[in-house]
């Protein structure tokens, strides 16, 4: 209709051009209109389709969200039997908005001081007057306090629920589990080591299962605490390992810590002696020395004799024995009465290089590779590792390791000679046992059973025996390097000795003599009996059935213990 009429006569070129331009403009306008139409149509179609979709598949207005599954703010931690060790619950928090307070401030301050006496009236009044926007009055408040505060009816007081970490077993395995800060971030123990796993929204629905068994842990903690109080020790540590898998079944450090209020604990209590603390372990090292010598072919039978004079003078140092033999003594006797002189000579024969290699393979030269971040690096002689140090390391001096190292070493020695890294996570579907490597030969491992059993049946560890459970182990009493009058007493043992399954280490830090121990404060008198009691409680829980008729092959050692050597 608007099309230009064709010119009958040839129009002028500019005219022709004008007609062409007009047509072009018109088509362009058409195109634009069409485009606009399509855009509007498309938008409307999208809206309609969306509405239809929502009508068909969408939720209705009253649908609730977020409560379809129970996912805690932070993953639970459970023990190997499924008992909860850490949980996140909703706790009440009482806050204060001073500027929103409408009532009489002095009166309110008075009432608050009555309800929450941790601050006095003046302090509350100062808060109310301060002009700041917010105060926390109390976190994790008890329901009755919340109720009472709510009854004040003051709009300036905020009552809110916020997720809070609760440790139902309080101090049980506190150093393993660790604790969180007020923001729910892991600050120690597994809470810190596994923080990402516990806070991960995808994973936190599943609890984190530890290898700890809470009943075993409780028994160990109780017996150790008992010994610690009885002997006025400043601290203690205990570890139980499954020697075949490397699982840590119980690990404790004393004094106790309540992770629900970790901030109130002393730094001493927060310190993990079992993994972070390193100590000279004394005679508990001697079995390693003997095993090394057996593997190196130096000792072929426990009947091999060494001169055991009253004192041994080497490199300007004098090595003493608590039970001097003053005669030649066999390897079995050296171990039985824990002779430093004999062990030093054995270590000397092994040599420094070989000793270091063995210790390295046992993981004694590095921090224990496991989950916790609190791992202590061993203190080594370093560049001074000469012949004298080789000898002293042979009986557990000049080398400081953590109790976990020691337990792991005993596990290596008695599980057939294979080192396996310890772990705090339960071995199972999601977590395979660590890769092991051989340190001692199987035969050495087998022979050592009777040697350590001898220490308990005949030697220094008699008090650590738990009848029927075939305990084998070694006492160790080492002086502290900064004060030679203070002792660290240790008992490292394995049970049942005829077929070892569990290694256990108990340690007391600075025990004192009591009337009951006749003033003695060596391991045989304090930590030894505690070890025996602990084993007789723990072994049945772990399925070790007592049997008084079973023993390891004692014919390997008994012929080499001379009667006159008995004290």
């Amino acid at each position: 209709m608007n099309a230009p009429t064709p010119a009958l006569v040839a129009s002028r070129p500019e005219r022709l051009r004008l007609v062409g331009q007009r047509r072009q403009i018109l088509t362009m306008m058409h195109q634009r209109l069409m485009f606009g139409l399509l855009v509007y149509g498309g938008v409307i179609a999208i809206i309609v389709l969306r509405i239809l979709y929502l009508a068909a598949f969408g939720d209705h207005a009253g649908a609730k969200r977020g409560l379809t599954a129970l996912v805690p703010e932070r993953g639970d931690i459970i023990d190997r039997d499924g008992q909860p060790l850490a949980r996140t619950i909703d706790a009440w928090t009482i806050g204060l908005w001073p500027q929103k307070v409408i009532g009489d401030k002095l009166n309110l301050a008075r009432k608050l001081a009555q309800l929450m006496p941790e601050k006095d009236e003046a302090a509350y009044f100062a808060m109310l007057k301060s002009g700041k926007s917010f105060f926390y009055l109390r976190r994790r408040a008890a329901p009755n306090v919340v109720e009472a505060v709510n009854a004040l009816g003051e709009p300036g007081i905020a009552l809110e629920r916020e997720p809070d970490r609760l440790y139902p077993q309080t101090s049980l395995a506190a150093h393993v589990i660790g604790f969180t800060d007020t923001d729910g971030k892991g600050n120690a123990g597994m809470e810190r080591a596994m923080n990402d796993r516990l806070a991960d929204p995808a994973m936190r629905g599943q609890p984190l299962q530890l290898s700890i068994s809470s009943r075993v842990q409780q028994a160990l903690e109780h017996e150790l605490l008992d010994a610690m109080t009885k002997h006025s020790a400043v601290g203690g540590a205990g570890v139980i390992l499954d020697i075949h898998t490397g699982e840590i079944l119980a690990m404790t450090s004393l004094p106790q810590l309540n992770p629900n209020a970790a901030g109130q604990g002393s730094p001493e209590a927060r310190f993990n002696r079992a993994t972070l603390g390193v100590y000279e372990m004394g005679s508990t090292f001697k079995p390693f020395t003997v095993a090394m010598a057996m593997d190196a072919g130096i000792i072929k039978s426990f009947g091999k004799m060494y001169p055991c004079p009253g004192e041994l003078h080497v490199f300007g140092r004098t090595i003493n024995d608590t039970h001097p033999y003053n005669r030649a003594c066999s390897v079995a006797e050296i171990m039985k009465e824990s002779s430093n002189i004999g062990s030093a000579q054995i270590a000397d024969q092994i040599g420094g290089k070989r000793q270091r290699e063995f210790l390295d393979k046992m993981g004694f030269l590095n921090a224990v590779p496991f989950e916790l971040r609190e791992r202590g690096r061993p203190l080594l002689p370093g560049n001074n590792w000469g012949p004298l140090e080789t000898m002293t390391v042979g009986f557990g001096h000049s080398l400081a390791v953590s109790p976990l190292h020691l337990a792991s070493g005993y596990a290596t020695l008695f599980n057939g000679g294979v080192y396996r890294p310890p772990t705090l996570l339960k071995i199972g579907k999601g977590h395979a046992a660590g890769k092991g490597h051989r340190v001692f030969s199987e035969q050495t491992s087998y022979k050592m059973r009777s040697l350590l059993r001898l220490v308990v049946t005949e030697g220094t560890g008699k008090k650590a025996d738990a009848p029927g459970y075939r305990v084998g182990g070694k006492t160790g009493s080492a002086e502290k390097y900064y004060n030679r009058s203070l002792l660290v007493t240790t008992f490292a043992g394995v049970f049942p000795m005829d077929e070892p399954r569990y290694a256990m280490v108990m340690m007391l830090d600075e025990p004192k003599g009591t009337a009951e121990t006749f003033g003695f404060r060596t391991a045989a008198w304090n930590v030894g009996p505690a070890f025996g009691r602990a084993v007789s409680r723990i072994a049945p829980m772990l399925g070790v059935s007592p049997n008084k008729n079973r023993e390891p092959d004692m014919s390997l050692v008994l012929p080499f213990v001379h009667e006159d050597a008995k004290h």
């Binding site: 009508a55 068909a56 209705h60 009253g62 649908a63 609730k64 409560l67 379809t68 599954a69 129970l70 008992q83 909860p84 949980r87 619950i89 609760l166 139902p168 077993q169 309080t170 101090s171 049980l172 809470s214 009943r215 409780q218 109780h222 738990a466 009848p467 029927g468 459970y469 009691r533 007789s536 409680r537 049945p540 059935s545 007592p546 049997n547 008084k548």
Partner: protein, 264 residues
């Protein structure tokens, strides 16, 4: 037809609207069902949360440290010792020792009726001959042997309803001998002298000893027997519970019941 044709569009619209309404109703229904389901799910989750809270509270209140404290202060339970564990059923069975069962050929039954007093008395008296004879005789009469041969017993019981012979000493004899002695016993029974030895009272036995054979004491016996019937029942009762000789005891008890009746 034309009307129908002209209304066809109306019908079409109406049916479409109806179908749409129906669909909408169905979807509404589905939505409300879904909402109800969600409500239930929410309630389940809330209940789970409550359960969790309660479990946490119970777990906290009954934490192991608390149990340990109670144990130390109140219960004082300790770990079982090695001896308290058993390897299996055999060891358990070994713990329970059964009651020693009597051997079947256990020789003896001693149902001692009359007290031991009478015997010393005659001995002290010194009349060895007479006393000895009397004592011997009474002893022989008192004696009765255990036997599981019930029929023999029964016949004895029938024959002498009054006699209550109490064997005093264990006598080891075969059952053949028993029968022989039983026949011996029956003789004095007929004379009713048996009562004298049976009677418990020491004085009477002494008298019997003085007068010689037991046969002479029968008059004195008559009264005494009545008195002595009661004491006699006592040992009988004892014999009843004696596991060594259940059968004779039973026979005795039956007999005494009858005896006392007939005596009176």
């Amino acid at each position: 037809m034309s009307a129908a044709r002209s209304f066809r569009s109306v019908f079409m619209v109406a049916s479409c609207a109806g179908a749409a309404l129906g669909c909408y109703l169905v979807s509404l229904r589905v939505a409300s069902e879904r909402a109800a389901l969600e409500e239930v799910e929410t309630r389940i989750v809330l209940a789970q949360r409550d359960i969790r809270l309660l479990q946490t509270e119970i777990g906290t209140r009954g934490r192991l440290a608390q149990l340990e404290r109670w144990n130390v202060r109140v219960l004082a339970l300790s770990a079982p010792s090695a001896d308290q564990f058993l390897e299996g059923g055999f060891q358990l069975a070994r713990l329970g020792r059964p009651e020693p069962t009597p051997a079947v050929d256990a020789p003896v039954v001693l149902a001692s009726a009359p007290a031991p007093d009478p015997q010393p008395a005659p001995l002290v008296e010194g009349e060895s001959g007479a006393v000895g004879a009397g004592a011997n005789q009474s002893a022989a009469q008192l004696m009765r042997e255990a036997s599981f041969k019930i029929p023999v017993r029964e016949t004895v019981a029938m024959e002498e309803p009054i006699a209550r012979p109490q064997p005093r000493k264990p006598v080891e004899t075969a059952s053949r001998q028993t029968t022989r002695k039983l026949t011996e016993l029956t003789k004095p029974v007929e004379k009713k002298t048996v009562r004298a030895p049976v009677a418990k009272a020491p004085a009477k036995t002494v008298r019997a000893a003085e007068t010689g054979p037991a046969a002479k004491g029968k008059k004195a016996g008559d009264k005494k027997v009545e008195a002595s019937v009661k004491p006699v029942t006592k040992p009988v009762r004892l014999a009843n519970v004696d596991p060594l000789a259940p059968l004779p005891a039973k026979a005795n008890s039956k007999r005494t019941a009858k005896d006392s009746g007939s005596a009176r």
